[in-house]
Assembly symmetry: C2
Homo-oligomer: 346 residues x 2
């Protein structure tokens, strides 16, 4: 059973994988690439993954056989396990609990080489629909306090398989980083009686220095104080604390903004490795008025080093105003597969 | 002038290098190695670095010429600049200030290939003495609130030069990560009237599950909730909030523990890239009773990915009890060059 342990000084939880404990020789050398063996995410290899939990597939095809467009499965090597009770306990001055949670993988397409930004609009919308539906399903498990949806693309961004996929992990505690955002947003709300993210969207659209793109429902922008070069956030223009309340109409607009943002990053930065994370309010105690869901996309261009680890400070060599300008001006006419983003004023 | 900007939601500061702004094509590919050109840190190349600030050198040799054993210089490409006033100001809802600070490099030895863990004991003690003396000097500048000393070893840990060196950055604000530790330690102190780090040292020495080594003054241990595999902390056994108050006697014991820890990590993990950071109380408002200085050493074996960035949770595949066992048992008889560490009971 994996174990959750809490740092007694700053209250940060970590997941200790006691079952698949890695020995010193198990760590790959740092030049290792994703290997070229049989891809378990390709059609025909469905038996190589845990059984599917949910799939969007052709009529008449059976689960765990080809014919799917988007496929959700349990992670074969889960960070947390779905079975069991929490069992919080003290160990002297320390705190631990069982590593209960969920760890799923959403395979975005049967095509091994088709990146998210190149999916046809309806297909990309189906991927986002699957994001929402898997999160809604996991929200019903009362042991879970938070569900983090994220994508790792490329070896140096932490991917171990190259077939395009997104992951989600449900945790039995609200993670520290999430709690910090909720607290910060709440403090601002108590002071101003306004959502800080709504204020940011308003100021950014007005200043127009850091906006990358916008459509009727979403804006993509370089944040004022980005940790990383070309860090880009996507926010809904209308206030909404939870991603899972996204409407079918907005799913199309969001999928388009996400694809357009990834396409711009790929174009300007030559297909960089990246992570993106959906930041949403927890489904319990949902800070309705103060919090505002959004996505953070961070291309992996620099290395995190001792200063960052020690201080939490980040050194960013690219001002966000310049990053936004490069991304905004990539090309004024998006390619055929992105008709919706043409409505954004760049 | 570099600029400090504050994230309005969680209050995290970032340093934006507006002067040497990196364009999309300036980022190295991720397989780049440290290059083999002339090393500016080798003796004879002193003119290739900014002038030395302080050095331990042979009698009769002149500054900025060979003859030094340990040499402190300004970083040629500083993250923050020493000249100027802070000029805090608002930008709409955002906050910024000038990037005033100091960024220095301590070259640990004239030998390009001699790692810190292999230095003779007196030489290693001189390196630690230089750490202390540079920090003491910077503490006198009233613009600075914190001084972070850190080492990046290896490309994937963020080093851009391979000649052994350590860095320090003085910042005009107390960094978020440091403030969190101070707050956590203070809360514990208010509740228990004891230092949490003293309690950790006591419990760890008693349990003896995660201790890597100890001598009269210091203990090296795998923390209960480590973010990374083989993460190792070094703590003074006696309570002391600030690193810069280290005595000459303890400098020898600390240099020995540091070397011994790095030697064990190198031996068990085949010379991994790593970072270490000195965590100390700020020189202003120094949390004397609640905080306890220590060093965190993190080998770079895993990649930080979307889940970690989004949640602040870390997934660690190696339980600290196993890591400590490997490190503790590396070899009972340290090699000839480490006579002092033989006094530690492992």
């Amino acid at each position: 059973m994996p174990e959750l342990r809490k740092d007694p000084i700053i209250g940060r939880w970590v997941i200790i994988s006691t079952e698949r404990g890695k020995r010193p020789t198990d760590f790959p050398s740092h030049t290792d690439r994703i290997d070229g063996r049989m891809c378990p995410f390709c059609p025909g290899n469905e038996a190589a993954t845990p059984p599917e939990i949910m799939a969007i597939r052709d009529e008449g095809t059976s689960p765990n056989t080809p014919g799917w467009q988007v496929r959700a499965i349990s992670n074969k090597f889960p960070a947390l396990k779905i079975e069991g009770e929490l069992n919080r306990e003290g160990v002297g001055i320390f705190d631990r609990m069982n590593g209960v949670g969920a760890h799923e993988v959403i395979i975005e397409s049967p095509d091994h080489d088709l990146e998210l930004e190149k999916l046809p609009p309806e297909h990309a919308a189906n991927v986002v629909r699957m994001y929402r539906d898997r999160m809604l399903d996991l929200e019903r498990d009362s042991r879970f306090r938070y569900i983090m949806l994220f994508k790792n693309k490329g070896v140096s961004a932490g991917a171990s398989l190259s077939h395009p996929h997104t992951q989600l992990i449900a945790t039995p505690v609200v993670p520290k980083r999430v709690a910090e955002e909720l607290d910060g947003a709440q403090r601002y709300y108590e002071y101003k009686e306004r959502c800080i993210f709504c204020d940011i969207v308003r100021q950014e659209l007005h200043d127009n220095l850091r906006v990358v793109s916008e459509n009727d429902a979403f804006v993509a922008l370089a944040p004022f104080a980005p940790r990383f070069p070309f860090e880009t956030w996507i926010l809904p223009k209308q206030h909404e604390s939870r991603f899972t309340r996204i409407t079918d109409e907005d799913i199309i607009a969001f999928a388009d903004t996400l694809k357009d943002t990834l396409r711009r990053l790929a174009g300007v930065l030559n297909n960089p490795p990246y992570n993106f994370m959906v930041h949403t309010a927890p489904h319990v105690n949902s800070h309705e008025l103060a919090y505002h869901w959004h996505v953070e996309v961070i291309p992996k261009l620099t290395r995190v080093a001792g200063f960052e680890w020690g201080t939490g400070f980040y050194i960013n060599p690219t001002p966000p105003e310049e990053a936004a300008k490069y991304l905004r001006e990539l090309n004024e006419t998006p390619p055929q597969t992105h008709p919706v983003s043409a409505s954004g004023k760049h």
